[in-house]
């Protein structure tokens, strides 16, 4: 146990010291990401909700199973109560995704929420508090944009009667975005890691196509149970 703690501390230190090295020059591909992206027509394919269940349902820890038992949808339905969703919940559902590029910061819009992805490797400021969107840092790994998000507060990535919990100090989401050669298709691999609630990472793959559809805001009206 002592050895294990030592290894974790050592690795945490190393990760902290090398973090700033990852700031990279903005790539041309980063500008090409700027667009609205939406899932292609399903044409009989499985919904993302179902695929999230397949990826996660059998991997719950005892703590996650207990979380489920205590869960009351009427007290926690973020959709019905118009509350902010966890950024890690976004990719369980087939919603649109929008990128806005300012080089040092990529803005990711989804669920009517804006997430900032810092491309310059900066760490959260001292007055930062964990929240549902977390803190996102991006870098390019070849032609793939890698976004790591930490500092989530406790939440869920799927609700309903069988929620999937996610979040807390150890939770991490890694997104890998890769553009097709013609720049019109965006492939996304999402890994959600949360050892408190899952015995292994939850891996999912999504595809988006570039869209020029006009989207607009819709007021969320809280529902009453």
């Amino acid at each position: 146990m002592i050895f294990k703690r030592f290894v974790i501390l050592l690795l945490t230190f190393l990760l902290g010291t090398v973090g700033s090295v990852f700031a990279q020059e903005p790539r041309q591909l980063q500008a090409a990401l700027e667009s609205l992206w939406e899932p292609p027509p399903r044409n009989g394919r499985a919904s993302s909700e179902n695929m999230l269940d397949i990826a996660a349902d059998a991997l719950l820890t005892a703590e996650a199973e207990d979380f489920r038992r205590r869960w009351a949808i009427e007290e926690n339905d973020n959709t019905a109560t118009c509350q902010r969703r966890s950024a890690a919940a976004h990719f369980g559902f087939g919603y649109t995704l929008e990128f806005l590029d300012t080089q040092e910061i990529l803005y990711l819009v989804g669920f009517e929420q804006v997430r900032r992805v810092y491309m310059d490797g900066r760490d959260p400021p001292n007055n930062f508090w964990p929240n549902k969107l977390g803190w996102s840092k991006g870098h390019w790994d070849g032609n793939t944009l890698v976004v790591r998000t930490n500092d989530f507060t406790q939440g869920t990535i799927d609700t309903g009667n069988r929620p999937l919990p996610f979040g807390g100090p150890d939770a991490e989401m890694i997104e890998r975005y890769t553009l097709s050669d013609d720049l019109n298709t965006l492939s996304l691999h999402v890994t959600r890691i949360d050892a408190k609630y899952y015995i292994a990472p939850i891996e999912m793959h999504h595809t988006f196509i570039r869209s020029n559809r006009t989207i607009f805001a819709i007021d969320c009206v809280p529902s009453i149970y």
């Binding site: 690795l11 990760l15 269940d53 870098h139 015995i199 292994a200």
Partner: protein, 222 residues
């Protein structure tokens, strides 16, 4: 440098992840207690409210391929007396559990399904998808969690209103929980089949320990 990051992250992951496959799960004391004969906790013998709810939710979530399956199923009728593993969701039949340490044998509907207690064990290359699928299990606290994949397409409920299930991406997750006196068992079954259903289907059956059960005769595969 990126690979260094990946390597360090992987190491953190492995060190933190006590439950991952590199740390084998020890035998759970309740595994041997599960062994025995179990009958549905339903004195009336008629369809329970839970079963009715399950069937109506399944029917209302059927996608087009599911409706097509139903139509053709009527025409073909049952071609085999062997029910698939997921049929326990549609019909809470009596069943038997035999603990063999590294495996558990689950017998119902005249068939025996082998459950491997190494959760990450992959089926051998010679394994062909079938009605029972490939089952592996682990303990989450005092709950036995069984994941079954590699199903052939079949029906979890036969008769005039069949419910399709199975195929390459179908997955069944069963959760077995013993009561404190070890004489009652709840089985929570989650069926996820995006091919046929809009959402995953869930049903909860209750069982009591029995001295004997009505054993189905061994089924005949066509």
């Amino acid at each position: 440098m990126i690979s260094k990051w990946s390597l360090l992250s992987s190491l953190v992951f492995l060190v933190n992840w006590e439950s991952s496959s590199v740390f084998a799960q020890e035998a759970h004391p309740l595994q041997s207690v599960l062994q025995g004969l179990w009958v549905e906790d339903n004195v009336s013998g008629t369809e329970t409210l839970e079963q009715r709810r399950f069937i109506s939710v399944a029917e209302s979530n059927l996608r087009d391929p599911g409706e097509v399956f139903r139509a053709s199923y009527q025409a073909n009728a049952d071609t085999s007396s062997c029910l698939m593993a997921g049929a326990l969701a549609g019909e809470a039949a009596d069943f038997e559990i035999l603990d063999q340490g590294e495996t558990i044998d689950l017998s119902a509907f005249g068939r025996t399904r082998r459950v491997y207690m190494d959760f990450w064990l992959e089926p051998p290359q010679t394994f062909e998808p079938n009605g029972l699928g490939w089952s592996t299990a682990r303990w989450a606290g005092d709950m036995l969690v069984i994941r079954t994949t590699h199903f052939l397409e079949g029906a979890i409920k036969s008769g005039e209103r069949p419910l399709p299930f199975g195929g390459p991406i179908a997955q069944m997750v069963e959760r077995y929980t013993l009561s404190e006196d070890h004489n009652h068992l709840t089985v929570d079954i989650n069926l996820i089949d995006p091919e046929y259903y809009t959402f995953s289907l869930n049903v909860l059956h209750s069982y009591v320990r029995a001295d004997d059960i009505d054993r189905d005769t061994t089924c005949v595969l066509n």
